[in-house]
Symmetry: C2
Subunit: 296 residues, 2 copies
């Protein structure tokens, strides 16, 4: 048995799917859930996602050998603080947050001598629906989980959390905290900002009714991510503030190159930018297709 | 018979699909194609997209009652100029360009007293593949075709071109030239600039290899349009320069609101922007679903 007693803090899409995946592999003895909403926790028990639940953090974590935080990013520090006094000395703690620098800082500030037992993690998986009802055992299959261990992180703790995610069918990779935050800012957080800004911009235009009437499939693809959960993205922005502001600055330079080329009739430069971008995008597509074929 | 002799200038995806659609409806007597590439024109004849072709613009247009320009935007003025002396007095000319202000200006500069016979048009349809081999008779079915007639435009010419597009299964709508260019700048041209700039920006980052390795499905959706044809988009940018620069400026303001909110820890403002954008995006999705259901 990999984990005797697993505590899932926040039994939603991610926490619920992890519990389902581990149960399917018979990798944990019992799963206890903690959350603020008793009806949701009862539903999770009914769905057999968790075995039992607790409404106090103390009783949720006190016997757990692994504690997984799968809650909104802005709750991380307060939750770690509130569980601190009740954790076993040999506990292993991990999380699933989309930004790692702020989570690591929160863990460092609160966990004291247990900080080496904390393995920062981020499963790159999700779906449009949220909540425990949307959780499925195969959510992580074929997806990447990024772990960002620190020099202090216990090798044993890192090994166990790696093994845990591998059992869900995910590919586990290690990056530094800074790499993670820069990469996610670029590939996920920045595109979300652009989609939100574009939709908001178009809604503010004079021809807004006609604009939405004539917007076609490409626009629909492009702005799908602007339907993402506002509070979650609000939290991500502030949690990954530094890397995101940096990515926004860089993007601005590149967009401005295009703007200047158009404004100043610089035909060669504009064609060069578009050609280079298409080549890059095509290489990305090839890489994705290769990965897809490899996992099939 | 709606059209006795149809001349298609530029027998690619759009020109070819229009010819196919009209032939299927037995709406034209004969179709002559004009282009620069004889092999392509021969292929169009072999595929029965056109009945014959000409390598001189004069013989292509001289007996045509309808001339359709389906060529890259930057060729419009030169083509109109070269056909000017050979057109019948009762000819009707239309085009399929993605920008209308510059096309109308080109037509006004070249067609003189035939200007009222020119009906500016833009079918909002396409697919990833281009060329006559990709042309299909149902390309325009259920899509919109925007016509932007001027005060001088002949009512009869406008009526015939409307009927022509309706026969392809498209919904014909009229907008002013300015409305068209503003709307397309917002819904199509601006998103393409953002996708090109984003891909180019990420390719310029230090972690570029890792970035493309970790980019997931949302990023793929978002940047699909950055694989669009560089030369075509280069032409569109300069043809719709004014409206596009204006849209870029407006977008910049909205993106900056987000940046300032993140930088200055303005939690309320950021949540407000994201919530408003999601509501707008969701209304757009509902509108699209309603339209889809209506055409099913």
């Amino acid at each position: 048995m990999l984990i005797n007693r697993l505590a899932i803090i926040g039994v939603g899409l991610i926490g619920g799917s992890l519990a389902r995946a581990l149960k399917r592999k018979k990798a944990c003895g019992s799963v206890i859930g903690y959350g603020r909403d008793m009806a949701n926790l009862q539903k999770a028990v009914d769905l057999k996602v968790i075995d039992e639940f607790s409404l106090t953090i103390a009783s949720a974590v006190k016997d757990a050998d692994v504690v997984v935080l799968a809650t909104p990013l802005n709750t991380t520090e307060a939750l770690l603080k509130s569980m601190r006094g009740y954790l076993r000395d040999d506990v292993i703690i991990t999380d699933a947050g989309s930004a790692k620098g702020s989570v690591v800082e929160a863990a460092r500030n609160t966990l004291d001598k247990l900080f080496p037992r904390f393995v920062p993690g981020h499963p790159i998986a999700g779906k449009e629906k949220s909540g425990v009802e949307a959780s499925v055992a195969d959510l992580f299959e074929g997806h990447r989980v990024i772990l960002t261990p620190l020099p202090e992180t216990s090798i044993n703790a890192l090994g166990l959390i790696s093994e845990m995610w591998e059992l869900t069918g995910a590919e586990v990779v290690q990056l530094s905290v800074e790499q993670h935050d820069e990469i996610l800012a670029a590939t996920s957080h920045l595109p979300h900002m652009l989609a939100y800004a574009l939709v908001d911009c178009l809604a503010g235009m004079q021809e807004r009714e006609e604009i939405f009437k004539f917007a076609a499939g490409g626009f629909a693809d492009f702005t799908r991510i602007a339907s993402s959960h506002p509070q979650m993205w609000h939290d991500i922005c502030f949690s990954n503030r530094k890397a995101l502001l940096n990515a926004l600055d860089q993007f601005d330079e590149y967009l401005n190159k295009i703007r200047v080329a158009i404004r100043e009739d610089d035909s060669d430069e504009l064609l060069k930018i578009f050609t280079r971008a298409r080549e890059t995008r095509d290489r990305f597509t090839q890489m994705r297709n290769k990965l897809k074929n490899a996992t099939e």
